[in-house]
């Protein structure tokens, strides 16, 4: 496979994942704003930070308020990570690598782009927001469904998966990074309504309200942190993402007959997750742990790009 093609597949799936996560994040923020009332400026600021667009937002707007942050995250072209920009970028990458995709995957991607481009052509009012966000998730789920159902399990598949799980790990880690303070064990605050709202927001941002309840009788900071970081049953947890990453990198290694440095790097990062209990992570500092994870994840992406010659 061409290195450029591998890179195109990797980025196509990163962007699809990003668009979907962005929709989820807006949904979570919107929920908080609804239940809390008031301007919720602090909340919207933290949502922009979670999406990693604080600096770009600050260049475009002065204050953080709901409608502006929503629009910026949803459809602003000045924001390269907005849902619309991400869908554009996913589709542009798909077009460049369409010979590596099944017809079903290409058509699902193209159709998602055609539909969402129209829906997001104008600002989306509060009334239509839940529907627009659901549509983004549904369209991307269709791409994923076509991908699962029709693609060969070969190197093409592996590069797509690697892109998706790197992006997803980054996204979950960012949510934890911005909200780490509400997850620190602090007996005094447990059960306060402020925290309940925050916890709910976190679970909502990873589509896990219900699955969390299946596993835990009681909602607690400790439980949520454990769920998002170490629980390998949870498809958006860091541990799950790294299990997928390692598996796909190993499959590539087996198909290609060599294991480049990035595979070892992923294994090291995975070990850091698997060998530690939540207590140890809290003891060493949750914030530091997550910061370290995010930068290791970025390094891993760079190594993969280099090892498989995406750009040169």
């Amino acid at each position: 496979m061409l290195g450029r093609t591998a890179g195109g597949l990797f980025w196509m799936f990163r962007y699809l994942e990003r668009a979907e996560n962005c929709a989820r994040l807006i949904d979570a923020g919107f929920r908080i704003a609804l239940t809390r009332g008031g301007s919720g400026a602090g909340e919207w600021e933290s949502i922009a930070a979670t999406a990693g667009v604080s600096a770009a937002y600050a260049r475009a707007h002065e204050a953080f308020d709901g409608p502006r942050v929503i629009d910026f995250l949803l459809r602003d072209r000045r924001n390269p990570s907005s849902a619309l920009s991400s869908i554009d970028a996913a589709r542009t990458n798909a077009r460049a690598v369409r010979t590596a995709l099944t017809r079903e995957v290409w058509e699902a991607t193209n159709e998602a782009w055609l539909i969402l481009r129209d829906v997001l052509a104008e600002p989306v009012g509060e009334q239509n927001l839940p529907e627009a966000l659901a549509l983004i998730r549904r369209e991307i789920a269709q791409v994923r469904g076509a991908f699962e159902g029709t693609m060969l399990r070969n190197d093409i598949f592996n590069f797509c998966r690697i892109g998706a799980y790197l992006e997803r790990a980054d996204n979950t880690a960012r949510i934890l990074d911005v909200k780490y303070y509400v997850l620190l064990p602090s007996p005094a605050l447990i059960g306060s309504s402020a925290d309940n709202v925050q916890w709910d927001m976190i679970l909502r941002a990873v589509s896990a309200q219900r699955s969390f309840r299946w596993l835990h009788n009681e909602i607690s900071a400790y439980g949520i942190a454990q769920f998002l970081i170490l629980d390998r049953r949870m498809p958006r947890s860091l541990a799950y993402c790294y299990a997928e990453l390692v598996e796909n990198l190993k499959n590539l290694g087996a198909e290609y007959g060599f294991e480049p440095p990035s595979t070892a790097q992923a294994l090291t990062a995975q070990r850091r997750l698997n060998e530690r209990s939540m207590d140890e992570i809290f003891a060493a500092g949750l914030h530091e742990f997550i910061g370290g994870f995010i930068s290791a994840n970025i390094d891993l992406a760079a190594s993969i790009e280099e090892d498989y010659r995406f750009f040169g």
Partner: protein, 480 residues
Amino acid sequence: MAGARPAYDEMWGAGGNAAGTAPTPPYRDYCAWYDSADPAFLKAKAADCERIFRRTGITFNVYGQEDAAERLIPFDIVPRIFSASEWRRLARGIEQRVRAINAFLYDIYHRQEILRAGRVPTQLIASNKAFLPEMIGVDPPGGVYTHIVGVDIVRTGPDDFYVLEDNARTPSGVSYMLENRETMLQMFPELFARVRVREVSDYPRLLRRSLAASAPRASSGAPVVAVLTPGIYNSAYFEHAFLADQMGAELVEGGDLRVVDGCVAMRTTRGYRPIDVLYRRVDDDFLDPLAFRPDSTLGVPGILDIYRAGGVTIANAPGAGIADDKAIYSYMPEIIEFYTGEKALLSNVPTWRCAEKDALAYVLEHLAELVVKEVHGSGGYGMLVGPAASAAEIAAFAAKLKSNPDNYIAQPTLALSTAPILTDKGLAPRHIDFRPYVLVAPDRIEITPGGLTRVALREGSLVVNSSQGGGTKDTWVLED
């Protein structure tokens, strides 16, 4: 119908669709089906097409139109139909022409017998931008110069076919031939059960086989074939991706390629891998920044040296454009006779070469009746269609012509045949042309029974180019 004399209609013949006229023989079965179909059903199907094409992403890019970055070529659901005997005749003429073109190219880059014999003026070659001195003495692998040719043909009467242009560089449009058929099969399966139409779907397999057969002799094992595209913003990107996909070849860009150890190689996830055959959809000028345009990022530095050393096949060969140059075109009858010893089976359109003084004088006097084209132009740009132009447009064009006569040729406006399209008011005739696709391998020439029929959707218009409001039709060749 407005206009002087109605053009020959593919469905209704010379008389046009007067009451009681019977359809021409190739259209009989189709018309019987059409008459029995519910008009509302046909309209609904026609509307479906756009959705199918857009979802599939069969689009083209129009240069200089930001807002319409990706457009669809309108598709008309009424096929253009050739009988088996019409096709046999065309195919013989096309094959003769393509043989002559390859013989001409070999000669022009070797001993230049045709110039020595005085059949084509030497000056026409020497001063021609499409002639590449770098190709002199080079033997392309398998002796093939034009692996893919698209011959543009128009019809003016039951037995009158003319070749408008021989596209010997990188003819495009074949993906529409394939997708149009696919769309028709999806929409009207019952129609294909009634009318026996020859298959075109084999084209990608034949293209691959034909390209592989032209691989350099040194290559061992199954030749590696790649399609070179300028990238996703090129107007024909869809087609490049489509063909690579259908052939199972890599779709590469200049940035993926490099000369490594005397080979042209592509950067894969496992390092550089050599390529044997490069089906390039990039013009000569951009192919090799070391040999041609130094600012080109679309090509591969050093590829021409590798090519000349026999290390890679480039399809079509660099310099093949000298054969489809519009100034050379007017010599095609002589060229065919010179190399095949036979008269040309397909006619040329009479052509005035404005470089010649008498011809220029005639053309200037008759601009209002003629079509004037740039020698190197394409896509219907920079041309004058005299009968459709205003007096001011004609005057402006005359000035351009006088200042650079060598750049132009002129031809009479042909009464292009019409074929019916489906409109809101039922069938209506529109002018069409036709491009069949020819594959040339060292040991055989194959013409796919079908091709691209382009149609000028505007009533009375003669310009069929997709960039200027043209559409396409499926083209049927009937079984015997």
